[in-house]
Symmetry: C2
Subunit: 348 residues, 2 copies
DNA sequence: CTGAAAGCGCTTACAG
DNA sequence: CTGAAAGCGCTTACAG
């Protein structure tokens, strides 16, 4: 490995001066600087990241720790998160450590030990639950971190979208078209984003002087098979919904399949909207008829998240750096007006 | 941050002795050792990974660098690779850095710079192409690494399966049942594993005194949509295949869909086999009728790969550490015998 | 069994 | 504009 000492010997200058020349300091003779830089290039010098870290107290490494899981469901989403995040973090000149724990590992302990061992500048937290122990732990440690999403129970830096608005916007559109029997295939209510979306849906109904039918509100794992079976269920009701709001495009795909299976036509018999995270593997674009709904690309979140985390690390005193990303809405094929509520009590 | 100095002050011993006590050296008084360990636990001491790295010349970090890609196709597989690899590497007490480059980034340069900067002990290379520049680069650098798969043009440590046997086994089974018009939906022939599988298929035909119909050998991107369209194509031939070998379960899913679309019954009209990588997101288990074929779980590869890489790093002189993992075969629903070749020239 | 010293490769006051 | 020195936190001969 080529070190400053090698260059120093090569050009006949002190290590100090070589360091300064390479570091771009002003108090170095221009000719000297050039001579040093040439030698560094010729010898293939790369500053030793370890030594620099020890001196500066910063490693340039950020980590994400995820609990291991034999459950592919919970992983489907994770893929795009990991790839997108890594790409953005790498682009910022930082290294991204992905630590996949053993199933059942103590994630809080992993964060603590990794941080205490001094090699990690900061952390990314995804999928926070209310009163998330990881957030509490990192806050107590004074470790820099940023959260994708929000924990309503404790203050922390985050990047998120307005999930209340997600639910409200889609429900409002359908209500405005005259739909009354609207189902919502929401994510797990243990997570704040799902709670907020439900609140948004509730609020849209309230704004129309109505209230939701609890039997049409479902909380499911957000993947295609679950969406399909939940939709099959809904379509078999005596009084089936005329519209379904899906929490993401994977659920929506399940809804499309279930509708086809049941001989229910979209958008003729059933309007479908979904929130679109802009996932590459599960694009909203492939649907026939077109899938409408709210949209906020996760890729934008990774860019913000990485940049904000870098700044938080540099600031060293964690600022409450919050950011709400934009949301767009497209009605897709959900343009079917319903003049009279089709739903009527059905006699036995 | 708690350092040796803090413990040293706390217990009234030299830093040297504290280090030895914690390091589990024998030449330390048992009572002293206990006292030191207690203090370390009480103060929440974790050895500073950076300092240790600088001293020992080893960071405990291994990296995988993948070219960024806006193409989801190439990513589908990567997910399970990344998660599985990270889990195994983490389990071994190493850190796993995932570096996703910008689209079009110079991957060789990234490896070089990352290694030269001294923070990385070794690398994992996946999906090698013949005469792979990454392998050449790391070999030249003298950097420890291991490859999943093989580059036939240069020697290097690897973990792989016998892909010749994959092709040979599946083709032989079908030939033995009497099938003659056998299609093969293979992966890209730019990769050695696909070349080997083709050779295996060729060899099985040769062993039966036959040779393949080049029109039935297809090289495609190994995902469902491509498998589906390739299979649709094959089933529309004047003289369609009676059996299809799929390179993986995603392709097989496409074949099942295409068969359903075309009204072709499996296994009545068409036998299907596939190689199964044991992917969680694309399980071979969900098929109806059951999907047979060769099988080698990637999860086993990650375990071997991680353990071997750790050993290579420790040895510091890269040994040619090669490993061929086991393959199993199950015929699934592909039990349909064909007494006479159904294929006959069809007049215009 | 214990401690003082050197050194991993770098950065950065401090002194010239 | 340049250099000698200290120090980041650790490990490890070397000497007692």
């Amino acid at each position: 490995m080529v070190t400053l000492k090698d260059i120093s010997r090569d050009v006949g200058l002190s290590i100090t001066q070589v360091s300064r020349a390479l570091g771009g300091h002003t108090d170095v003779n221009a000719a000297t600087r050039e001579r040093v830089q040439l030698a560094a290039t010729r010898l293939g010098y790369r500053p030793n990241a370890i030594a620099r870290s020890l001196k500066t107290g910063r490693s340039g490494i950020v980590a994400m720790i995820v609990a291991g899981s034999r459950d592919p469901d919970s992983n489907a989403h994770l893929f795009e998160i990991v790839m997108g995040l890594s790409a953005e973090i790498s682009a910022l000149g930082l290294q991204f450590v992905l630590h996949v724990g053993q199933p059942g590992a103590d994630v809080v302990k992993l964060h603590t030990e990794l941080y205490r061992s001094g090699g990690i500048d900061g952390f990314v937290i995804i999928g926070p639950s209310p009163a998330d122990p990881r957030i509490k732990c990192l806050t107590d440690l004074g470790a820099p971190f940023i959260v994708h999403g929000r924990d309503p129970e404790q203050p922390h830096p985050f990047v998120d979208i307005d999930n209340f608005d997600v639910g409200r916007t889609m429900a409002d559109h359908l209500l405005s078209l005259g739909h009354r029997r609207i189902a919502f295939l929401n994510g797990p209510l243990s997570e704040f984003f799902a709670i907020q979306r439900q609140r948004g849906v509730d609020a849209a109904f309230a704004a129309h002087g109505l209230s939701v039918d609890p039997a049409l509100m479902r909380s499911i794992t957000m993947i295609e098979p679950q969406g399909r079976s939940a939709a099959r269920d809904l379509l078999q009701l005596d009084n089936p919904p005329t519209a379904i709001i899906a929490g993401n495009t994977m659920i929506a795909r399940g809804v499309y399949h279930a509708a086809a299976d049941a001989g229910v036509s979209i958008p003729g018999d059933l309007s479908v909207l979904a929130h679109d995270d802009g996932l590459e593997l599960f694009p909203a674009a492939g649907f026939e008829p077109p899938l409408g709904g709210t949209s906020a690309h996760l890729s934008a979140a990774w860019i913000s998240l990485s940049a904000d985390l870098k700044q938080i690390i540099a600031a060293s005193k964690t600022p409450m750096h919050n950011r709400i990303l934009d949301l767009t809405f497209d009605k897709g094929s959900a343009t079917q007006s319903i003049l009279v509520d089709r739903s009527m009590p059905v006699g036995p």
